[in-house]
């Protein structure tokens, strides 16, 4: 027997999903003011028998049902523990940190803007030398950061905070905003002039994972 963890949520904002991965029921484990959601399975086969993408989608749907009710701190899929006792012990040790993070971001969501070159070969064209290649990478990186700054300006004060991550020739921007400001955020970005050759893809709202201090949990 092992259990699959979904997320931690404040007890007051709990909206229990109808079912979890592989159609398994979702159970709760409470500790102080936080609740951890999990599914019990006879074996790991219960959630790995299906292709990973199906299980991941079911996991995502379960998280989304809870997330519509309030802030969540998701576990990465698949996070497994031996049994409820192990989960209980873990919660006892960490519930205060989870609680403070959930309260801090209770009404917040995260939006993501992925800025990339429309032409996949733009940043990876063969260069004659390593130096040239590195200069090209630096130039693309600088261009993406210029666009990122313009995009931040376009969003204005709707976003309370930002994080960013560079992955090869892509820049990922994460905006922290109030749950009620998602429409306004999108409206503002609709007026953003994306430069030629670039694509900006906006997704969300997501749980505020980029803004959590996960290393403390």
């Amino acid at each position: 027997m092992s259990i699959l963890l979904y997320c931690v949520v404040l007890k007051s904002g709990l909206r229990q999903p109808s079912s979890g991965v592989a159609g398994l029921p979702v159970s709760c484990s409470e500790c102080n003011d936080v609740v951890a959601l999990f599914s019990k399975g006879a074996s790991a086969e219960a959630w790995t028998g299906a292709p990973l993408r199906e299980s991941a989608q079911e996991f995502h749907r379960a998280l989304q049902q809870v997330f519509t009710g309030g802030a969540i701190i998701p576990f990465r899929f698949p996070t497994l523990m031996k049994d409820e006792e192990e989960l209980w012990a873990y919660l006892q040790e960490n519930s205060a940190l989870y609680s403070s993070s959930l309260q801090r971001f209770e009404s917040s969501v995260q939006m993501e803007a992925v800025i990339s070159y429309s032409d996949l070969t733009s940043g990876t064209a063969v260069k004659t030398s390593g130096t040239e290649y590195l200069r090209s990478r630096q130039k693309h990186s600088e261009e993406l950061h210029v666009i990122a700054n313009k995009l931040r300006d376009c969003a204005g004060d709707v976003a309370r905070d930002w994080r960013e991550r560079s992955v090869q020739n892509t820049l990922r921007l994460f905006a922290l905003l109030d749950r009620n400001s998602v429409s306004e955020f999108k409206d503002r970005l609709r007026g953003f002039g994306v430069p030629a050759g670039l694509t900006v893809r906006v997704t969300g709202p997501w749980p505020v994972t980029e803004f959590l201090e996960l290393n403390k949990i």
Binding site: M1, S2, C7, V8, S43, A44, E45, T48, P51, L52, R53, A56, Q57, F59, H60, R61, L63, Q64, I73, P74, F75, R76, F77, P78, T79, L80, M81, K82, E86, Y90, S118, K186, L189, R190, F192, G193, V194, P195, A196, G197, L198, T199, V200, R201, V202, T203, G204, P205, W206, P207, T209, E210, L212, L214, I217
Partner: protein, 95 residues
């Protein structure tokens, strides 16, 4: 002579795509399973959120074969967990 063109709004497979003579702006949300790409879902469920660091032991016939760091196995978790499911020892990710 250059003439400014109005942007074209397309709705394709649940995505709102704004195309102009310049770059492309795409909006998608997470409200429905059909309206968000599988790539986004996989990225978020596999790469975002709490990770409980620890080691995972792959055993066969009661013999511990491989010790791997949790971060390492995420990309091949399906295969790893199938190996584990075949044994009596449940997989663990614990601190």
């Amino acid at each position: 002579m250059h003439r400014a063109m109005a942007p074209v709004f397309l709705c394709f497979a649940g995505f709102l795509i704004i195309m102009s003579t310049q770059g492309t702006l795409i909006f998608s949300d997470t409200s429905g399973g059909d309206q968000i790409s599988l790539v986004d879902i996989l990225d978020h469920v596999l790469n975002q959120g709490v990770i409980l660091r620890g080691n995972l032991i792959i055993s066969l016939a009661g013999v511990d074969l491989v010790y791997v760091g949790l971060d390492v196995i995420l990309t091949s978790v399906e295969t790893a967990l199938r190996h584990i499911a075949a044994t009596s020892q449940p997989p663990r990710q614990a601190t």
